[in-house]
């Protein structure tokens, strides 16, 4: 039996040392990573609703389920109510939508009347130089701003995509259309709740 132990002990020692090392590094970097994520989210929310100074996350799961039912094929991650000096001025809908290289996290900003105030991309892994044009070409995201309240999927599809990266453009368009549907379905009635 001891010959087997001679084999097992070194592996065990390496594992223990590796585990301690890694857990130490993790506990060192974890807060930094969390902070990075929070900063990134903060930036993307500010990008779509610049005037808002606070974003209240809607925890009510019933509302989120209702929104998710309407938002298919896009997945709702969070919904925020934007307030300025305590007064609600709009909504920010954070969704995950399928692009060419995989899921893209997109934030769509709506004002109280449901018209789009801005669209920003939190993360994506599209082909650099091709799919990433949805972010680098300024006109593409700006074209979504100013859609009238209660806009339908048709209005969104009417807007043009980037040649050569249709699948990435569709990812963004699906996200904006989903936000429109969620507003029409749920956020519209929730208007009075926050007063």
């Amino acid at each position: 039996m001891n010959s087997a132990m001679k084999l097992i002990v070194p592996v065990l020692v390496t594992c223990v040392v590796a585990a301690t090392g890694l857990s130490l590094t993790y506990s060192l970097t974890a807060p930094k990573i969390a902070e990075q994520d929070r900063l990134a989210e903060e930036r993307s929310l500010k990008a779509v609703l610049p005037e808002a100074d606070a974003f209240g996350c809607i925890e009510d799961t019933a509302v989120i389920e209702q929104a998710q039912a309407v938002a298919d094929p896009v997945q709702i991650i969070d919904m925020f109510q934007a307030t300025e000096g305590g007064k609600p001025i709009g909504w920010a809908v954070k969704v995950s939508s399928r692009g060419y290289g995989g899921p893209m996290i997109v934030v769509v900003g709506l004002d109280t009347s449901g018209s789009t105030t801005g669209v920003s991309i939190l993360s994506m892994n599209e082909t650099p130089g091709l799919g990433t044009k949805v972010q680098t070409e300024p006109w593409f995201l700006e074209q979504f701003i100013g859609l009238p309240g209660g806009y339908t999927d048709g209005d969104v599809r009417a807007l043009d995509a980037i040649s050569g990266s249709t699948r990435s453009s569709n990812g963004i368009r699906n996200a904006v259309a989903a936000a429109g549907r969620v507003y029409a379905e749920i956020l519209f009635e929730m208007e009075g709740v926050s007063e």
Binding site: C15, A18, L22, Y26, P73, Q75, R98, Y100, G101
Partner: protein, 208 residues
């Protein structure tokens, strides 16, 4: 468990549309090393299918019953998974050599190659760790065991298919008149590029 059609889509997506070798470029070392001739490629493909299926089920089980409950998966998944795959490969090699020498002779020599095969680790991680799975199918946050195995089967079949087609091309290459600068590996790279153009052309099928 999702519907049968979704599983079929998962399989086709993994094998052809997002072929791990020619559209995602994972596992190129054996791809160029082994594809010199046909027998080695077929032997390697069999070994890869066999080991990938076991690796994915092992990593899935370890994530589900060891890493997730303890909540340490986030930073321990790399050492844990690769340790499992390496030991699994060594175990299979020993078992095959004892149980069936013929199978060992056909497949055994490639087993050590598989430990350093990126495709096996990539697929095992995608099958086991939630959030790693990037394909365009709306499955749950993490794959169920059935979905994970179907996905791995798709990927390994795709791997074998790409490897064998490339081996056939390379055997024809030896006879072709190629300038001395491009003889050997450069012409193999160019052929692989052309082959991957065909596979990349398949992207977007079935909405995957």
């Amino acid at each position: 468990m999702s519907t049968v059609s979704q599983l079929a889509l998962l399989f086709i997506g993994a094998a052809l549309v997002n072929n791990i070798l020619l559209t995602r470029f994972i596992g190129l070392c054996p791809f160029f090393g082994v594809s010199g001739n046909m027998e080695t490629s077929v032997g390697m493909s069999l070994a890869v299918v066999f080991v990938m299926m076991m690796a994915s089920s092992a990593t899935w089980a370890v994530w589900e019953y060891v890493l997730a409950p303890l909540g340490v998966g986030e930073f321990l998944y790399i050492p844990a998974f690769i340790l499992i795959i390496a030991s699994l490969v060594q175990f299979v090699e020993m078992y095959l050599r004892k149980a069936s020498p013929i199978l060992y002779r056909a497949m055994g020599i490639y087993l050590p190659l598989i430990t350093t095969n990126c495709a096996v680790l990539a697929t095992a991680t995608e099958a086991a760790k939630p959030g790693f799975f990037k394909m365009n199918i709306a499955l749950g946050a993490s794959l169920s065991l059935g979905e994970a195995l179907i996905y791995t089967l798709g990927v390994s079949v795709g791997f074998g298919f790409a490897l064998v087609t490339f081996a056939a091309l390379r055997e024809r290459l030896d006879l072709a008149p190629v300038s001395r600068l491009f003889k050997g590996s450069p012409i193999a790279f160019i052929t692989a590029g052309l082959l991957s153009l065909a596979y990349v052309g398949m992207s977007g099928w079935f909405g995957l």
